[in-house]
């Protein structure tokens, strides 16, 4: 993919009822994720890019195409944007079969090309045997594959995905994320994804745009955003479980540490360097976590070594610290957190 063709610039104001969206970001990557809690304005941004929601002002430029510009009075209707949209609940047409759904965006192409494009989608998305079924007779994963096929069949210049994997159970989700990554490479279409899950965002995008309350909180390459969140708010959204206020060298700072970057060692009776009490052990199977409260009253979540499983006595004394160089700090005080 050539860079000029995949770049996406969004700088818009949208007024939707009482909600005011004020989004601005540029992504040069072929894959972008909009990350944020519900109500952050991610989906509204996606709708504006697709042409389903008119911004009050601003511009949306993809590659060399101006999709919307209030200054130049450009507002391409959705049907002329050539943007594929994967809706949250897929929005498969219930009165059309799998094949008819996939072919829906191919109207106007010669019959032969239509058949070839549909056959390609059936192959790529492994939909053999489902051609004549109606959406009501499909599983969640099958519906998603059909919806992807429908969006990709007309060879869109951009593919938008609204929480594509949130409605699925974990096993089919993992498989689909992997499958989707391969599919995207095979097709080579730039994507913009909306999600509240940092794992999904990290797995599927190179560029992260973190949103909150209708604004962009941080935008950048995923590693940068993931490892250097610019604020405690962004840190929480990119999966930093421990965020707390602290006074460091006479100055108030906010500190953030991921549970996996904490080191927790149980203190024997002889040890006196304990600083936290174990409140609860949380075994998530793939992860063993301990909930601690420090002597200064801060709640901490730390990933524990499986070898310690026998020491997990609630009320026991532990030494809990961030690993060297793994804590993040921001100047100031986070008012949403208790002061210590």
């Amino acid at each position: 993919m050539e860079e000029a063709l995949v770049s996406l610039t969004v700088d818009i104001h949208v007024q939707a009822g009482d909600f005011l969206l004020d989004t601005a970001f540029t992504s040069q990557a072929g894959s972008t994720a909009l990350l944020g809690a519900s109500g952050a304005g991610k989906s509204l941004t996606l709708r504006a890019v697709a042409g389903l929601q008119a911004p009050t002002s601003g511009h949306i430029i993809q590659g060399e195409r101006t999709l919307f510009s209030s200054e130049d009075r450009v507002d391409l209707p959705a049907r002329r944007r050539n943007i594929g949209y994967l809706f949250q609940d897929y929005a498969l047409f219930p009165h059309l079969t799998v094949i008819e759904n996939i072919a829906f965006g191919l109207r106007g192409c010669p019959q032969g090309n239509q058949r070839a494009a549909v056959a390609r989608m059936v192959d790529l998305l492994r939909l053999h045997g489902l051609e004549g079924r109606f959406p009501a007779g499909l599983s969640g994963g099958e519906r998603q594959r059909v919806a992807l096929g429908r969006a990709l069949a007309p060879r869109p210049d951009l593919l938008l995905l609204d929480e594509p994997f949130s409605a699925l159970d974990t096993p089919s989700r993992e498989a689909l994320i992997e499958e989707f990554t391969m599919l995207r490479e095979a097709i080579g279409v730039p994507t913009v994804l909306v999600t509240h899950d940092i794992g999904e965002a990290y797995a599927l995008a190179e560029h992260l745009v973190v949103m909150g309350q209708g604004r962009v909180l941080q935008s950048g390459p995923k590693r940068e955003v993931f490892h250097h969140p610019c604020s405690p708010e962004v840190a929480r959204l990119v999966g930093v479980q421990n965020v707390f206020n602290q006074v460091h060298g006479g100055k108030a700072v906010v500190v953030g540490v991921r549970a996996g970057d904490m080191e927790a060692v149980p203190c024997g009776t002889s040890r006196s360097d304990s600083n936290a009490t174990l409140m609860q052990a949380v075994d998530r199977g793939v992860q063993l976590l301990g909930r601690f409260i420090t002597t200064s009253g801060i709640h901490l979540l730390a990933e524990l070594d499986r070898a310690l499983a026998s020491d997990l006595v609630p009320g026991s004394e532990w030494s809990v610290h961030a690993r060297e160089g793994m804590s993040l700090t921001w100047p100031g005080v986070d008012r949403t957190l208790p002061l210590t």
Binding site: L52, R79, Y85, G105, F134, R150, A151
Partner: protein, 221 residues
């Protein structure tokens, strides 16, 4: 008895319902999806013919298209055409009286369908006409057909406004409904009975025909 009344009734009701469908169904879709100031007012105005007495409607129609009105005078002088005392006047009356039933029912049907399907069709390159024809209409099919059936039944039974505009000329504008009235007034009770039973069968039969067409779309081959 003569069968002109039945022929005229069917001719008037079917013409009126075809017009009501062509105008009312797209209008109902637009009303269901449009967001603008005064939408509630437009919705209320559409319903006015449902609550006004048919004779009142007929009176207004006469005012609007009668020979002395601007519209009526124009049609008369340029096309030598008049709604008054002609079967087209009966069609006009039936159209005005029955269309609100169709719009109301179809609008509720369109509103009950999630607009995300229409948005999906737009992102897939379809025009508004195609979105309406291939997505909105099939998904709201039951309500639309129910609305058409209601409008047809209402048009077939229309009496008051028809009498005011088209009159009651046997063989020209006399419909089943007005013929029954005529027969009763003239004391031809057996004629009235035959007409009433015939109209009952025709109405129920037409409704049944429309109802069978409104089966679930999933069964479509």
């Amino acid at each position: 008895m003569d069968w002109d009344a039945l022929r005229i009734s069917l001719q008037v009701a079917i013409t009126s319902t075809v017009l009501a469908t062509l105008v009312g169904v797209p209008f109902a879709w637009w009303l269901a999806r449009a967001r603008f100031r005064g939408r509630a007012l437009v919705s209320a105005l559409i319903l006015a013919p449902m609550v006004l007495p048919p004779t009142v409607l007929g009176y207004y129609l006469l005012l609007a298209v009668g020979r002395r009105s601007a519209v009526g005078g124009f049609l008369d002088s340029v096309f030598n055409f008049s709604f008054v005392f002609s079967w087209t006047g009966a069609v006009l009356a039936a159209f005005v009286v029955s269309t609100p039933f169709l719009v109301r029912t179809a609008q509720a049907g369109f509103e009950s369908v999630d607009s995300v399907y229409e948005e999906a069709a737009r992102t897939l390159g379809r025009s508004e006409f195609s979105v309406f024809l291939h997505i909105a209409l099939p998904l709201a099919r039951r309500s639309v057909l129910a609305g058409i059936a209601l409008a047809l039944a209402r048009a077939l039974g229309e009496f008051g406004a028809t009498l005011m505009v088209a009159g009651n000329l046997p063989g020209r504008t006399q419909t089943m409904s007005t013929a029954i009235y005529d027969a009763v007034i003239a004391g031809r009770t057996s004629d009235a009975r035959v007409l009433a039973v015939t109209l009952t069968f025709v109405s129920v039969g037409l409704l049944f025909a429309v109802g069978t067409g409104a089966g679930p779309w999933r069964k479509r081959s």
